[in-house]
Symmetry: C2
Amino acid sequence: MEALQVGLAGFGTVGTGVAKILLEEAAWLERRSGRQIRLKRIADLDLERDRGVSLEKVQTSTRVEDILEDPEIRVLIELMGGIEPAKSFVLDAIAAGKHVVTANKALLASHGTELFQAAEAKGVQIGFEAAVAGGIPIVRSLREGLAADRILSIAGIINGTANYILSTMTEQGREFPECLKEAQEKGYAEADPSLDIEGQDTAHKLAILIGLACGVSVHPEDIFTEGIQRVTGMDIRYARELGYRIKLLALSKILDGELEARVHPTMIPESHLLASVGHAFNAVYATGRGTGPVMFYGKGAGMMPTGSAVVSDLVSLARNMRPGMPHDIPALGFYGQFPQDARLRPMEELVTKYYMRFPVVDRPGVLSKISGILGDHGISIDSVIQKGRQQAGPVHIIMLTHEARERDVRHALDVIDRLEVALDKSLFIRIEDSFDPPGLEPA
Amino acid sequence: MEALQVGLAGFGTVGTGVAKILLEEAAWLERRSGRQIRLKRIADLDLERDRGVSLEKVQTSTRVEDILEDPEIRVLIELMGGIEPAKSFVLDAIAAGKHVVTANKALLASHGTELFQAAEAKGVQIGFEAAVAGGIPIVRSLREGLAADRILSIAGIINGTANYILSTMTEQGREFPECLKEAQEKGYAEADPSLDIEGQDTAHKLAILIGLACGVSVHPEDIFTEGIQRVTGMDIRYARELGYRIKLLALSKILDGELEARVHPTMIPESHLLASVGHAFNAVYATGRGTGPVMFYGKGAGMMPTGSAVVSDLVSLARNMRPGMPHDIPALGFYGQFPQDARLRPMEELVTKYYMRFPVVDRPGVLSKISGILGDHGISIDSVIQKGRQQAGPVHIIMLTHEARERDVRHALDVIDRLEVALDKSLFIRIEDSFDPPGLEPA
């Protein structure tokens, strides 16, 4: 069978991994694909830097158009990132009848339906195994392995930067700013880390996971998103004292037919498998109605893990592409009309347990005042920690609540934050004690 | 598109789950498959028992031939188990041009190549996602998601019965016989549990995993297999004291181009993710050259988890089957000649750390005698535990060794077991401190 010729746009870290695998593992990939996969062209603005890959047999240029205009190339590998010009190049590739493989979660989360529709109309595919959780084959697992089941909930640690920072804070008792700086020095965080630490990258990936699991479309900007910047070493210490770990979680649940989707720092029991997912690792924990809980764990980023995921999509294309016969599994694995926009449950309706920290003046009656306000809002307290005063500064009252409604919590904390005894804004972290929907046998 | 009609042979626990899903989730499955999947016939010797499934629209009989002879049925779902008559029915189905979906690991491990060759010659497929680790989509993950990578090692907890018994022994400090009895009463172990507790079921599944990961054929009887019957509560307590858990592991590694494959009780660090996989849960931890470590976790058995896995294969068939056009991804995901028999590294060549327990007379000089014999065999001791004598009976000397060769260990223990001071046969458990091949970044 003739070789599958591919072109790579974006020769950064992941692009280098892809080139390495295609060039160095050609024999293995042929055995896996039933034909050769030939990297014919690479386009990148910087072609000078040595990536440690021999490009003798590859044509390089600074123009993605050279890939798009080459009729022999059947697949565009888009690793440029960002929305534009990546989106235009992807649409041009589709219009030219080329398949696309991409790791671009921002693009897919924001414009997935448009791209998938264009691809379907043209009879080409978009592979995106690398767009969520790097080396973990979660896209195929949701689209194929678990396709017979209904996924009732998803809880994911799917941003390696945020997880690295929280893990370092937890293990070394250090504060956010210095851990962020160290992550940047070690290459685990970008120079501008905002997408990672503020949670948007996690929300992008969650939107993709929901589409694959539930067959509905969710706009990432509709997902409640809170980053890890406000988590302090003190909160992590109290969480540990209470038997919890703090993780940036992507959460989605189907509750009474409504969809809940949110991204925020979350306290989870230290005995839960997700609590053991440290540093740059990712994990997706999902609960299926029939399958029960499953978890997928691995490296969420990096040259070779993400590069391997990109190439796995090329292997699938090589296996399935036969002349004149488009392989037509829909991108999200759902047939019929395109996924409808999901109606998300408003965040104010969330019911969960809360960890709260109040920095207050050390004065008699403060505890009673705060708990009175919480009680007035229907919030019931499970436990309280108040330790002796520090040398200077506020005392911190820590409370764990029973299940309460987010709206009530915010109202109550607004009132408490305006008290004269409040020395700083209160902080709260949502708690997830179980990831398995009610009625299912627990893990 | 016309419905995909299927016939089910074997209406036991998993068969009931499959029927439930096909009958109760028809609309969901149509959306996932792009066509209806219709359960037309069920064959089982016992058709009287009420399984809680309405069979109004299904034709039942006691003869599998009724499925094989029905030209409308395109897929035989084989859930009878065992080698014969399952094997003959599968071959007859293939000869009749029907696809096969099976959960029969014993059949695939022992006769997989023969069945896969017959299927390929006839242009039909054999789906077996349910044959390994029930609800975990590990077959597709190895065949497709990780197809671009080389899997260097596999460590699996893939027998729920053995894991349930070891977990109960660990948590409750009880002994093997009573935990086995309880597992049988609770339905986690069969009346004849030998395949599970003696390790053969694990070896069957390991043979299948190696085929999918490495593209070589391994006969399960060539895999060194040791069950959990000899593990005592005392060994579990000592393991805990030393920071380890004992699990029945399926292990495979590529070392210097040779393949190691073994199944035995193994001490693993309590901090490793696999140590948290308890009770009836399964997990497969694999390390890819590029991807690094990945882990897949979920329920390894049961009506709905395994039933969902069976139906996921039907969904894949429904998606890929088009008239006149066989979907020809090879069963193990490797093209070219059929997998060659792997040359396994002899077990005597294994090099690992060992836990050893010697039941001996409490007498001066015994420790020196034993450590002397170990030293004579080139085995170096890392640590020793010897506690005060019990009321009656032997004292137990516990030793952890540095890396040693299995052949030397067996020779040394033969000598020690013949000592006059030895009150019972010594016991040893192999230790795995790391599952990641040397040279790879650790997990």
